[in-house]
Symmetry: C2
């Protein structure tokens, strides 16, 4: 009898799994329910749409609904919201775009419900001109707002990836940008040294950066025009004709929770190495699910695109009959900030390392991105962290104008469980236009190795 694979949520994890199942086992029925209209889109590209570097929002769509339906034979139903899962009956309850409800049986189910932008209870968060940026419609709305109201000032609340990318985008659109971060530094997962480099660059570019500053709310007459924040001498405010709230995302877990699917300590859905939840035949992947951190070996929640795609694909293989691990995560990430950028992998923060039971030692160095004498060489700031006892590499961050994908060397070393000695002996590629003889990663390894002795 033909089996049915049902997917809840038509973005990275869901569509990767759906496609993979159809490729490996064309006989299986694959049904995807997506409550919105967009599927399989590159959310990470949205700031560049707002910036004006990408003309059509459609360019961010990897595979169109038509392609999924016709070429890949996936029964994709947009405008369909899954209201409930009944694991005992093996069915999901679905509401279509006309409000009609029906039950859909499944043999295998993937929960790929994603995450939502957190909206803190700021005063005035409902004002026109206050946006989060977590889906395509929101990106479109920001673009429309820029066209319609020609705002001159923007306040960005939160100095994470989205905040930094939107600062660049809005500056490019001609706005005067201020940024508010509650913590002592922006880009918290990148560690202090990388953050300092990016902060300096943002300020050079004219971003009015407020660190350790809590936003209190937004003001305006229907439409936002000011942001209020807690300064040393009490409440202050600044002009803000447009506000982007980018303080993080929370996994969409209510559907799973109500079906008795267990959440992990991070608050996302707990899964095993094959992406299986605690309920039979139910998988979870993407921004709503946990994954195992390669450094700590513990469940972690790092909602990023590759993790979702990779897990979705692996679950597709497993459902089609070839059990495939979803892979571990190093939290590898890279972000552009105007003319420079930063990247990170593993555990960069010493406190986080101590919490995970390590005795962290770290170094930060500045190294040249190319041979020092080669035109265009720039400084790359490298932070490398290791465990004193085992000498195992725990993580790293990079910041500078070029060479940031070098973080992949560290991500690979983390997956292999390499020590600092092993890392600094790697045979990395050298020629003057591309690297110094000792790649910056090797140089950081040499210095850290000396500190471990």
């Amino acid at each position: 009898m033909t089996e049915t694979f049902v997917v809840v949520g038509g973005d990275a994890a869901g569509m990767s799994a759906a496609s993979k199942v159809k490729r490996e086992d064309p006989e299986m029925d694959v049904v995807v329910f997506e409550r919105g209209e967009w599927v399989s889109y590159a959310a990470c590209g949205m700031p560049y749409y707002v910036k004006g570097e990408i003309e059509d929002l459609e360019d961010l769509v990897t595979v169109t609904p038509e392609q999924f339906r016709q070429k890949r034979d996936v029964d994709l139903r947009t405008g369909h919201e899954v209201l409930a899962i009944d694991p005992d009956a093996g069915t999901v309850t679905v509401e279509d775009e006309h409000g009609e409800r029906f039950d859909q049986p499944y043999d295998h189910l993937l929960v790929g419900t994603g995450a939502s932008a957190i909206e803190p209870p700021f005063d005035g968060i409902g004002l026109e001109g206050v946006f989060t940026i977590h889906d395509m419609d929101e990106a479109d709305a920001i673009d429309d707002y820029l066209e319609a109201h020609e705002p001159e000032t923007a306040a960005i609340v939160g100095g994470g990836y989205v905040g930094v990318e939107m600062a660049e985008a809005l500056d490019e659109r001609g706005l005067s940008v201020s940024m508010f971060e509650m913590l002592p530094h922006i880009l918290q997962p990148f560690g202090e040294e990388a953050a300092r480099v990016v902060e300096g660059h943002l300020r050079e570019q004219g971003v009015d950066l407020h660190l350790e500053t809590a936003v209190q709310g937004f003001d305006g007459d229907g439409r936002v025009d000011r942001v209020a924040f807690e300064a040393e001498d009490g409440l202050e405010d600044a002009p803000a004709d447009l506000v982007i709230v980018g303080v993080g995302v929370a996994p969409n877990t209510s559907l799973a929770e109500e079906a008795g699917i267990e959440l992990g300590e991070t608050g996302a859905i707990a899964v095993d190495e094959y992406g299986r939840t605690n309920r039979a035949d139910i998988y979870a992947a993407g921004d709503c699910a946990e994954a195992t951190n390669v450094v700590t070996g513990e469940p972690d929640h790092v909602p990023l695109a590759l993790t979702a795609n990779r897990a979705g694909r692996a679950i597709g293989q497993t459902v089609a009959g070839s059990p495939t691990p979803i892979g571990e995560i190093a939290g590898s990430a890279i972000v552009k900030a105007f003319d420079i950028g930063a990247s990170r992998a593993g555990i960069v923060d010493e406190e986080r390392a101590r919490e995970a039971g390590f005795d962290p030692v770290s170094v930060s160095i500045d190294a040249s991105s190319r041979a020092h004498y080669y035109p265009g060489a720039t400084d790359l700031t490298v932070t490398l962290v290791a465990d004193r006892g085992s000498e195992r590499v725990l993580g790293a961050s990079l910041a500078g104008p070029e060479g940031l994908k070098r973080i992949d060397t560290v991500a690979t070393a983390l997956e292999a469980g390499m020590t600092v000695s092993e890392l600094q002996r790697l045979d990395l590629a050298y020629a003057p236009p591309f690297s110094p003889v000792w790649d910056p990663i090797l140089t950081a390894g040499k210095v850290l190795s000396g500190n471990l002795e």
Copy 2:
């Protein structure tokens, strides 16, 4: 009693070892004999000096003789040639710049005699205007020749790194460049796919590329003006006011051989994992010595800068009392060719893999260097090779306008002995300006993984 560490040859391996010994054990006497005047220079930068991108040859010197002598307290003697090693007596015989000879005792000796450019017995190789490029004086001589004689045409014999880099340099200097390669493709260690990409680009840039073409010799009245080569219809010739012969290098081993130091099968000096030769207290490192290939586990000879620096540094640590392995080599390399480049690691050639006892399977794909919708995205050609039985990654090459240092991910995976499944599950960093969600390395891994099933 104070020990003496004697180094023969003042370039990468020798000076790295000398410096490291003085840093770890300042009490030790360190004497370096260098027959030329240049020490510790970046030979890889020479094409860019000829190109005109680097103003002074001195810019290629990492540490000056004065700095070695004064800051690092190394007894560096330039213009001193070591004529013989007497391992039983523990001495070397040295001739200084005035022809005076003396014996220098050692407790530890490092042979770092480097390699020399091969000069095949071409007719007319002694003509003025025919150059190899393997030391700083030669780079200077080429530059002088360009100034003095304003050649209009150049022939490059050999399509290796040096040939490709010199084609770019001489084109920039306004010469019309032809290139002659005996094999079916240039850049032999990079494999056919990467070579094809570079060949296409060289031709686009106006290089007159002759593959599978043997040069017979050079003609001219005292000064070269033509190159003769074997064409399909017999001997042909082409104008060449300047000739660069770059057909490879051979290790300088005669000093070692005469002292009874064993050479390996590759013809370079055989060493163990600490860089020790078969004679007590005598080490060898750099372009004159072998190193262990990380893929085959066998001795190999890949004369590149990092290998020399790394082995020299490790030997310095060992001599100073902390035994340190010199590290294995993946043959990692990267080369710029006009507006594109290529990189490689491990074993790319299937025949070479079979000789080493593997059953190679390889794929070549074109992948985008950035998210497909992000401005500036270009094609990267990736070849990935694995062993069918063990599924172990054996090597890879890349070619394209950007993203070539991604080869370091493969070099790291090779060091860790990863399988293709492990490689394609790596958590590599993604953001639209830097990579597609699936990095090209991961995409190649996915495709190859499918072919292994």
